[in-house]
Amino acid sequence: MYQVVVPGDFLSEETKRAGEGTYVEEGKVYASQYGIVNERGEIKVVPLSGKYIPSTGDVVIGRITAISSPFWIVDLASPYEARLHVSALSGITRDKIEFGNMSEYLDLDDLVVVKVMDVNVLMKIDLALQEDLELRRGGRLIEIPHTKVPRVIGRSGSMIKMLKEKCNCFIFIAKNGRIWIRGKEEDMDLASTVILKIARESHTSGLTDRVAEFLDSFRKEKGRELRG
């Protein structure tokens, strides 16, 4: 059973183990967020809601919202916008990207998989390209609250592993709650239905088993349809 806490709830006296979603006052650890306590390793409060705030090292999916040479301005489903420098791309393509033709490489509304390289105190965020150039090459994008991401991945990746196998899809889950799915149309339909279901029921126990059940029954029905 999960333990739900509200801001100000006393958690522990071991101030050295204080992690995210907590604060220390007079030698005691208190919750600073409304969420679920996780005491494995650090004492953390996993929030039930809230906005995504980029931190160094996160791999996220961004959408180009503006071009302001020599940067692309990227939306990360966060209140803070980030920027991607041309050099991040010219290093890969070996082309010389001229002033004014940046949109030939990445245009408005294009999606990119990026890594957060640096977040400074003023929340200026620098990105680097990660993996493929863009998502233009197919698949679809679904968005869930970033707080549900750990649930879709599951404990040590159990949930995502099952999804990939049973849905027969390529699935990439970014830290900011954007999920890239690529596969056959019907497989993608199934995968997105299931992921949205997981996000909706994220705080129920035995979810992995239930999702497995759901996927199996769906497959059986499909098989019956094909035979009948």
Partner: protein, 245 residues
């Protein structure tokens, strides 16, 4: 000098409450779909809706703070919330209450985590019966937690006052209008820290002390209700999801 109206009969107040009794409180969390956090609260005949948006980009831009988030707090009474129709829009009174309420949350919200952003709190009074700002603060506190805003504590709030020479808790409209004093307070229950205190009318030093003690006790009760509302909301979801299955 108007004649004193009898507000206490046989040791009870007009609505049957004792001197140290709160009005009925009802709390619902997460009632607005489009808000990041929300709460509907009833305190007796007060009905209030609180919505929280953010952290999101702060407008106007010149009001941004490069080091921390800025809290915007809007207390507003609906035109139909009072006996006589209230002229819509901000007035002197609601601007002042908005400021006092915003400052009541200053010590708890961890603003340093969101430089340049704005956290917007909207408190709308749908029906009023004295003590609206305290109802608003209680609701806003829950809505902020629901929005996932990092805070050090929840803020709880209640008013005390003096009617017919007696110090009583949580005045209703009849008592507020005909009483001698009204004193709303907001505080952090865990640390007994007062974050807002106002007083209208006159009380002796002894009465003030007694009233403050009464109000602080009541804030602890309210804190428990606020906390329970947030926790049962989650458990309810949990139960209903299990039933669906």
């Amino acid at each position: 000098m108007k004649e004193e109206i009898e507000l206490i009969k046989e040791g009870k107040r007009l609505d049957g409450r004792g001197f140290d009794e709160l009005r009925r409180i009802k709390i619902e969390v997460g009632v607005l779909k489009r808000a990041d956090g929300s709460c509907y609260l009833e305190l007796g005949d007060n009905k209030v809706m609180a919505a929280v948006y953010g952290p999101r980009e702060m407008h106007p831009r010149h009001a941004q703070d490069a080091k921390m988030a800025v809290i915007k707090f809007r207390y507003n009474m609906a035109p139909f919330s009072t006996d006589d129709r209230k002229r819509p829009g901000p007035d002197r009174r609601s601007v002042e209450i908005s400021k006092v309420c915003r400052e009541a949350f200053d010590p708890v919200i961890i603003r340093e985590l969101y430089p340049k952003m704005g956290i917007e709190v909207y408190v709308e009074l749908l029906q009023s019966d004295a003590g609206t700002r305290t109802a608003g603060i209680n609701a806003a506190s829950i809505a902020l937690a629901d929005a996932g805003i990092p805070m050090k504590d929840l803020v709880s709030s209640i008013a005390v006052g003096k009617i017919n020479g007696e110090v009583v808790l949580d005045l209703n409209a009849a008592e507020d209008n005909n009483g001698e004093a009204d004193m709303p307070i907001a505080m952090i229950a865990r640390t007994n820290t007062i974050t807002a205190l106002q007083m209208d009318g006159r009380m002796t030093q002894e009465e003030f002390g007694r009233g403050l003690k009464l109000a602080m006790g009541a804030c602890h009760q309210i804190y428990e209700l606020q906390r329970a509302a947030l926790i049962t909301r989650y458990n309810q979801n949990y139960e209903s999801k299990r039933e669906e299955k």
